[in-house]
């Protein structure tokens, strides 16, 4: 990222996400907004495989990526010549998976004479709410809760991030999925567990709210799994009991997240809270935070679910913001499997 080059900041930006399980591609135009975004798992590409789509392993980005780029450009009504820049997830993530996206994106940009920018995956998540019609202005606090993350981050401005808290062991979504499995639901069963909790009666079981009895913004959800397992094993294991246990588990997670969110807002003085990540779809979490916001005078922003989970749109957006101020990569292909979010250069 050194000198701006001629075309930086002009025209639509192609975004490529391959850091873990999902292959995602999108086109974001700084002037017109999001033009198209696709995830491999959501579309069929019969033509590319001669009529039969093999059951591709997740993370097989090599075979998925180029058909997905073609499909996304077609949906946006663009050809490669219309692009103004290329963004790709450069980290953190699995080195082999990152290299697929970085190599394809960097090579495409080089061959077209366009600037390329490596995006931090977490910055993509933090900026995803800016894809919505009523984007929250920084400063805000973001809670990123998914199968892989449980983080609280202060967003002072674009590119200015401070990690406030993180999980010491399991992520919140992982706790949902593993607890569901321990209670006999198919893996990953987090959403099924949440549905089951809707039928549970409050107060039949109660689990601890981990780490809320001491100061700080870190999370720990591993012990909760064991508590639930013990309660379940020593119960009558009836259907209603399963729902009651699920209810108590969900309440413990949601209340813990809500307590830490309010603590983070108090600590930073921010009045806006952004929820990102797949667990952001949880109805009890949404209701609890919306209620707390109304009561205590902070606003809560939920990006639509397709932008909560991994996607190419957030990478195209974050890349477009950085390209617009002249940041870009040198021609070599580099990925950063481990990358500190706080080390990013500010944009504004």
């Amino acid at each position: 990222m050194n000198q701006p080059i001629a075309k930086a900041g002009h025209g639509p930006v192609l975004g490529v996400e391959t850091s873990c399980d999902e292959t995602g591609v999108a086109v974001f135009d700084p002037a017109r907004g999001l033009l198209a975004h696709t995830l491999y798992s959501q579309i069929r590409m019969h033509a590319d495989y001669g009529g039969v789509v093999p059951e591709l392993a997740s993370r097989d980005h090599v075979r998925k990526l180029m058909p997905l780029v073609r499909e996304t450009l077609a949906r946006a009504g663009l050809g490669v010549a219309d692009l103004g820049g290329v963004a790709y997830t450069a980290g953190p993530g699995l080195v082999g998976a990152l290299l697929v996206g970085a190599t394809a994106a960097r090579a495409l940009a080089w061959s077209l004479g366009l600037p390329a920018i490596g995006v931090h995956h977490m910055e993509g998540h933090l900026l995803a709410p800016l894809l919505e019609a009523d984007p929250p202005e920084p400063p805000f606090v973001a809670l990123l809760v998914s199968g892989g993350h449980s983080m609280l981050i202060e967003v002072a401005g674009i590119g200015r991030y401070t990690l406030l808290g993180d999980t010491l062991d399991d992520a919140a979504g992982e706790a949902f999925d593993k607890t569901a499995k321990l209670m006999g639901l198919p893996y990953p069963g987090g959403p099924a567990l949440a549905r089951l909790a809707e039928q549970g009666r409050p107060g039949v079981f109660r689990f601890a709210r981990p780490m809320t009895d001491r100061p700080g913004l870190d999370f720990s959800f591993s012990g909760l799994k064991t508590q639930v397992l013990l309660a379940w094993q020593h119960s009558d294991r009836a259907e209603q009991t399963r729902a009651d246990v699920a209810r108590a588990f969900e309440e413990a997670i949601v209340e813990t997240l809500a307590i830490k969110c309010r603590r983070a807002l108090a600590q930073t003085g921010a009045r806006r809270l952004v929820i990102a990540g797949g667990v952001g779809a949880n109805r009890r979490l949404r209701a609890e935070l919306a209620e707390a916001g109304a009561r205590e005078g902070f606003s809560v922003h939920f990006p639509r679910l397709e932008f909560c989970t991994d996607n190419g749109a957030m990478i195209a957006l974050a890349g477009a913001l950085r390209l617009a101020v002249g940041q870009h990569e040198t021609p070599e292909i580099r990925v950063r499997p481990r990358w500190d979010l706080a080390s990013l250069p500010p944009v504004a």
Binding site: L94, A171, S222
Partner: protein, 156 residues
């Protein structure tokens, strides 16, 4: 050599993990087998802390791999629970992990059969009526030395 212990409570399991650390300071490969919730990650976390990892020790279930460097030793903690096909391990850059100098801890190694570095030492954890059962088995000369130095059946 195989050593089995029955009915371990969590503090005992954590003490045993900490006591294994000195035998692994020169690297090697450790497999951790057992069902969900059997204590694999608890054991791995206690072991990593005893080796001097002071960063957050996050579960690698979603990221598949978490790596650390302490005192000149590279440590890779893998969890293959979500791997459906050993071919997917290509994305982890495993060739770099099996240089014999790094310490590689693998949970759910059966899901990576054929694509993983072979184990020096294998631990199996099982739920028991009271606590957990642990079985430790050496699978190489290096593993025999690790197990002898560890001696989990020794009191203390």
């Amino acid at each position: 050599m195989i050593i089995s212990l029955n009915g371990l409570d969590e503090p005992h399991l954590v003490r045993l993990a900490a006591r294994l650390a000195p035998a692994l300071r020169d690297g090697g490969t450790l497999y951790l087998r057992g069902d969900l919730g059997a204590g694999k990650t608890t054991f791995a976390r206690a072991l990593l802390q005893a080796l001097g990892v002071d960063a957050r020790i996050k579960s690698p279930t979603y990221s598949l791999i978490e790596s650390y460097r302490v005192g000149g030793l590279d440590i890779h903690h893998l969890d293959l629970y979500r791997i459906a096909d050993p071919g997917e391990l290509e994305w982890l850059g495993l060739a770099e992990l099996s240089d014999g100098l790094s310490l590689v801890l693998v949970e759910w190694p059966e899901r990576g059969a054929g694509s993983l570095p072979s184990a020096d030492l294998q631990l199996r954890l099982d739920h028991a009526d009271a606590g957990r059962d642990l079985a430790a088995r050496a699978l190489s000369l290096r593993g025999e030395a690790m197990l002898a130095a560890w001696d989990p059946a020794r009191p203390g």
